[in-house]
Symmetry: C2
Subunit: 332 residues, 2 copies
């Protein structure tokens, strides 16, 4: 059973994932990626994954058979386990609980060579709607406080399989990075009675230097204090705390903007590895006036090193105004 | 001039380092490492670095000439600039200040092929004493609140030059990761009137499963909730807030333990790339009863991916008890 452990000084929780345990000698070489033929995510290899939880299928197409446009399955090597109770306990001054949670994979397309940037807008919209469906379903499990949707694209960004996919991990604790955003947003709201994200969107749309592209009620912008070169946030212009409460038309609009942004990024930066992370409201606090859901996209261009790990201070060599200008100027 | 910018939501400061600015096309390929012949840190190439601030030299050896055992110089491409005032200002709802600070390089040995693990204990002690000298000197500059000593060893850990070196960055702000340790330590002290680090050292020495090795008044242990496989902390057993207030004999003792630990790590993990970060007290708060200086060492074995960047939650596949056992058992 994986275990959640809390650092007694800063209060940071980590997941000790025994399911994925490796021996010291296993670290000497980099993990090898599955190649096309053996890929468990390819069409025809449905039996190589756990049974599907959700899929996009034409009428008459049975589960776990070819014919799907996307599939959601449990992760074969989950960081957290769906069964069991948390059973919090202590060990001297330390705190732990069982690693209960959900870990799912969204296989974004049957084609091994597809990417979110090459999918049709409709197919990309279906993936975004699958995220919504899974979030709405996981909300029903009272053990979970948060669900993070994220994507690792390319080996340098942490992907262990090449086939296009994203992931979802539901946790019994609100992750510290989301908790900090919630707390900062609540402080701002207490002071001004306005959503800080709405204020940022307003200022950036007016000012324009960090705005990359805007369409269908969404804006992509380079944040004022980005940790990484070309870090980008995509936000709905209208306030909304929970991604999963977005309407179908709204997410179809997001698909248009996201595809456009990813193609710009690929042209300007040469198909970089990247991560994205969806910051939505906690599963039990979906109506917040102070929080505004958004997607954070980080091309993996640099290495994080000792200064960043020791300080939490990031050194970024590309001013966001320059990044936005390069991405904005590129019309394809 | 580099700029410090603050994220208006979570309050995280970043350094926008225009000195190191690169154009988008520069990211397509990885930076190239200097090889032996051209290395600016090699003996004989002293003119390729800024003038030395401090060096280990035999009597009669003049500055910026061969003959040194270690050298401290300003970073040729500093993330922060030593000249100027902070000039904090706003831009709408955003906050910025000038990127004033110090960025120094400690060239640890004249030999390009040396590493901290192969240096003699005396030579390693001289490097640790050089850190102390620089910290004591930077304390005198009232613009600086903190100085972080860190090391990037190996390309995957962020080193851009192969020659053995560590770095020091002094900042006008206490970095968030140190601030979190200070706040957590102060909360614990307020509750118990004891240093949390002293309590951890006591519990781990008694319990033993996460203790790796102990000598000369220092202990190396695998923390209870490590972010990374084989993450290790080295702490003085006796309370002390500021590294730079350590005595010469104490740091000579640390050199013995640190060299032993690095050689164990290299044998068990096959000479991995690694980072270390020295967490000492802030420059203006060196007498804290609640804070305990320590060295954090992180072998670079895995990739940080979307889940970690989006949540702040780390997934670690090696329980610290297993890591400690592997490192403890290896006697060389």
């Amino acid at each position: 059973m994986p275990e959640l452990r809390k650092d007694p000084i800063v209060g940071r929780w980590v997941i000790i994932s025994t399911e994925r345990a490796r021996r010291p000698s296993d670290f000497a070489t980099e993990p090898v990626r599955a190649t096309g033929g053996d890929c468990p995510f390819c069409s025809g290899n449905e039996a190589k994954t756990p049974p599907e939880i959700l899929a996009g299928r034409p009428p008459g197409s049975g589960p776990n058979q070819p014919g799907w446009s996307y599939r959601v399955v449990s992760n074969m090597f989950p960081a957290l386990r769906i069964e069991g109770e948390l059973d919090p306990s202590g060990e001297g001054l330390f705190d732990r609980m069982n690693g209960v949670g959900a870990h799912e994979v969204v296989i974004e397309a049957p084609d091994h060579r597809a990417t979110l940037a090459t999918l049709s807008t409709d197919a990309l919209a279906d993936v975004l709607l699958a995220f919504r469906e899974r979030l709405l379903d996981l909300r029903k499990d009272p053990r979970f406080e948060y669900a993070l949707v994220f994507k690792n694209h390319g080996e340098a960004a942490g992907a262990s399989l090449e086939h296009p996919h994203s992931q979802l991990i539901a946790t019994p604790i609100i992750p510290v990075m989301v908790a900090e955003e919630l707390a900062g947003s609540a402080r701002y709201y207490a002071m001004k009675e306005r959503c800080v994200w709405c204020d940022i969107v307003r200022q950036e749309r007016r000012e324009g230097r960090r705005r990359i592209v805007e369409a269908n009620g969404f804006v992509a912008l380079a944040p004022f204090a980005p940790r990484f070169p070309f870090e980008t946030w995509i936000l709905p212009v209208a306030h909304g705390a929970a991604y999963e409460d977005s309407g179908v038309d709204q997410l179809r609009g997001l698909a248009g903007l996201l595809g456009d942004f990813l193609r710009r990024m690929n042209r300007v930066l040469g198909d970089p590895p990247f991560n994205f992370m969806l910051h939505t409201a906690p599963l039990r606090e979906t109506q917040l006036d102070s929080f505004h859901w958004h997607l954070e996209i980080i091309p993996k261009l640099t290495r994080v090193a000792g200064f960043e790990w020791g300080s939490g201070f990031f050194i970024n060599s590309v001013p966001p105004e320059d990044a936005a200008e390069a991405l904005r100027a590129d019309a394809g």
